[in-house]
Amino acid sequence: MSTKKYFGNWGGSFIPEALHETFRQLDIAYRQIRNDPAFWEEYMSLMSTYSCRPTPLTYAENLSNHFGGAQIYIKREDLNHTGAHKANNVMGQGLLVKRMGKTRVIAETGAGQHGIATATMAAKFGFECTVYMGEEDVQRQRPNVFWMEKMGTTVVPVKDGSKTLKDAINEAFRDWVTNMDTTHYVFGTACGPAPFPEMVSWLQSIIGQEAAEQIVRQHGKLPTRIYACVGGGSNSLGIFQRFLDEEQTELVGVEAGGHGLDSGQHAARLCGDDASAGVAQGYKTMFLQNDDGQMLDTHSVSAGLDYIGVSPILADLWEKKAVRFEAATDDEVIEALDLTMRMEGIIPALESAHAFVQAFKEASEMAKDEAIIINMSGRGDKDIFTIAHAYGDPSWKEFIIDRAEQYRK
């Protein structure tokens, strides 16, 4: 097996010369683990003792009845250690780093979930760790920063550009280009230069493998549709890959519609007309950029989805129409979150709630013997500051003001 650099017209490896050798070695190491069944076994053993793989597939009986159509199942990546699917990728790369003999890891983070997962992995494996995080995301996800620091990670707020994920990625590359000898860059999603898109998707593919087995066991047959939110693309590819050749299963990726596709304030790259082909952050994909090729500011209520690019693997699947793409607006997301909490006692991350939105739009039109799976990429507790804020909850505000009073003294 050799690493695929391109997926149709997308992907590649647009990296500074200083990283050429690093990537060559990474590619070799990746091919070794990919071809070594012992690696996957070690990975599974780690994930089933340190995290709780297989994560359950929950039948959402109340939501199913509420919409009166398809039977709704939820794949529970939120129950992973650290609360999201990000752990799958990170723990796998942790094992890889150990094999490569490096001693330090760096990562970018948007929602903070990948940062938390990386900090956790670094603590577990005894690596030094630095996480780059856009300053705006530091504001949105302060609790995550606190925990990363407590696990011994240095969190560097990135004050350049739009102060979000893309800027954190640039900054991580700047670090890597300086410290490649000791350091591995734990890329957080299925983007970036090869072999990252393929490697991250592979490590996440466990989601779909489990889900296929579980849905057949619980529902008796494969699902009609699978919904996943799309930031960089790792959780969606994680669940989609297993079903790519299954004729009866339609795959639906849901992007951040922000204030609406017409508003200019969103992060939809594969649906809507605002993105175009480009090359940045080491790879070629559909980017939200202006006519000059300058990247645009994106917007989403969820810090994990407002990214300018998208996995080249998804861009290819989009072009080949193997995956359908939709967008969910901020308001729809809060509504779906609300319904899910009240009906099922489950709190999806704001990112994941995007997938719920689209599933809810379509479930009632489907037959009762059909099943759909929503990939719940993470849990929403981490979003308390954003969600409580979005609700405008008065007693939350009062609580924060009270706390601040104590701290002022």
Partner: protein, 257 residues
């Protein structure tokens, strides 16, 4: 005339050449104009003009900020191409464009190269376009007498250097150290070994950049390299002391004052 030839001719009279760098539109095209004039008047041999990009992955804090400020002020590619054409027709020395690949990809490779060639641009530096991805662009550029400048890094193996040399033209840009632009580099024994590896791998002239800040850095390069590249340092200087400080700085670097 091809860039390599110009470099070699200029090198004939001098122990070392000097390339400088500016970010287009930062702090303004007006000041770019003044700075370039001072550079040329004080004996700079070659100037790379960076077309700003929103994601300058290989640049350190000074140039990064300059890129962003320029874009915030509204700089467009069109502005940059016009300004480049103006400089080529105003000054005798060779001008290069430095930018990231997306700028050219979005603008259209052929369209960009045609305009650059017509303006008289002599070379192109794209730090995020390795020849694996840019073989076609390198060829198209060469066809128009625009030299695709290859970059060597201390991490490059000799085989890799040789491979790169085959794709490049004009000169090789050797980064003095790992990392991004901006901070000072130690030009020590290890560095000298690296430069002699570079020499062995290519017959093109060698330029050395990243962290070259003063006359003694330049002196350390004499004999080992053909050209020193000063980047972030002039931007800082203009930020702190205005464009008038550039002339004296350059002449100090050149050792003529």
């Amino acid at each position: 005339m091809k860039l390599e030839k110009i470099i070699r001719q200029r090198k004939a009279d001098k122990d070392i050449l000097l390339m400088t760098h500016i970010v287009l539109g930062y702090p303004s095209f007006e000041i770019n104009r003044e700075v370039i004039k001072q550079m040329v008047d004080n004996g700079v041999d070659c100037i790379e003009m960076q077309i700003p990009f929103s994601e300058p992955m290989a640049d350190g804090p000074v140039i990064l900020k300059a890129n962003q400020d320029s874009l915030t002020r509204g700089t467009t590619i069109e502005d940059c191409l016009n300004f480049g054409a103006e400089m080529c027709s105003t000054h005798e020395i060779p001008f290069l464009y430095m930018t990231y690949y997306n700028i050219i990809y979005k603008y259209g490779e052929e369209r960009f190269l045609d305009q650059a060639a017509e303006a008289g641009i002599r070379g192109l530096i794209l730090p995020d376009l390795p020849p694996e991805e840019g073989a076609h662009l390198c060829k198209s550029a060469k066809q128009r007498d625009i030299a695709p400048i290859m970059i060597y890094s201390p991490t490059s193996t000799v085989e890799r250097m040789q491979e790169l040399s085959g794709h490049g033209a004009g000169f090789i840009y050797c980064t003095a150290r790992k990392g991004v632009t901006g901070s000072h580099s130690d030009l020590d024994t290890e560095f000298k070994n690296y430069l002699s590896r570079c020499r062995q791998a290519t017959s093109l002239p060698l330029a050395v950049g990243f962290g070259i800040q003063n006359r003694s850095d330049i002196e350390a390069l004499i004999g080992a390299a053909d050209m020193g590249v000063v980047g972030s340092q002039t931007i800082k200087l203009v930020d702190e002391q205005g464009s008038a400080a550039v002339g004296p700085f350059i002449s100090r670097l050149r050792g003529t004052s």
